[in-house]
Amino acid sequence: MNEFFHMGGFGAYIWSAMGIAALLMVLEPVTLVFRRRSVIAQIKRNKRLEERRSNNEKN
């Protein structure tokens, strides 16, 4: 197991390379989830304001 992480002395290089790739490939979809949530919240808010405005005009 230790031998696997040590990788003949090059472990730091190999695992940091894999680590950078893994980090970016996790961060990207996570930021996408946040972006989607923020758009949905915005649209919901606009919808509420629209409905409230049209209700006010009716009354």
């Binding site: 696997f4 390379a17 790739a21 758009v39």
Partner: protein
Amino acid sequence: MKINWFKYSAPMNFYPLAGKLIPLFWILAIALIALGLYWGFFKTADVLSDQRQYYRIIYVHVASAWMAMWLYAVMVAWAMVGLVFNTRLSFMMASATAITGTVMTVIALATGAIWGKTSWGTWWDWDPKLTSFLILLFVYIGYIALQSAIDDVRRSDKASALLALVGLALVPIIYYAVNCPDPNECASLHQESSLERVESNILIAMLITTLGFWMYSFATILMRVRTIILERERNTSWVSKLKEFNN
């Protein structure tokens, strides 16, 4: 039976289709990357004739580098479809592809630098392949920056489409920057990338991981285009009828 070939070119129809495909692509991405890396670490020799264990960075480096170039071509293709047919969704797809392409370019540059340090002794060199790849990163960033700089959506789509088209000249330069026939005529650090000379287990692992990166790109690009559709089409009636807004 009449087939409507353009049904999915409407954001309203593409949105739910993309939603169904995304989990499928995630599963494929995780499975293929896991399989590729397993193959690459456990079915291959520890030491090669000219490289030690650090050669295994190849699986992530080559996959991301190929994706960076391929996604650029895909981005340009969507931009061209948008310019020729004036379809909104094409420009949205081009826009969605840009960021994933940038991420792949950054991964390729970072993993390449780490591999370079171990095998050539240097993090960086201004050789043709590395330099043109760095320029590819700048063009990706330029595309994204130009898009956000112009307020009017139609104008920003068209302007960035033209920028992307000009940058397309870079892709063959990167590809040929090292594969020149006579090594005495090109002073390049990055070695010739000929697949025939790669040992078969390493090649298999590399190709499987690349396929996994492809699936990852599909997943993230479809996720992004769904959000872009919501952002751009927010005032349409079909969006207001979606179940995200009616629960």
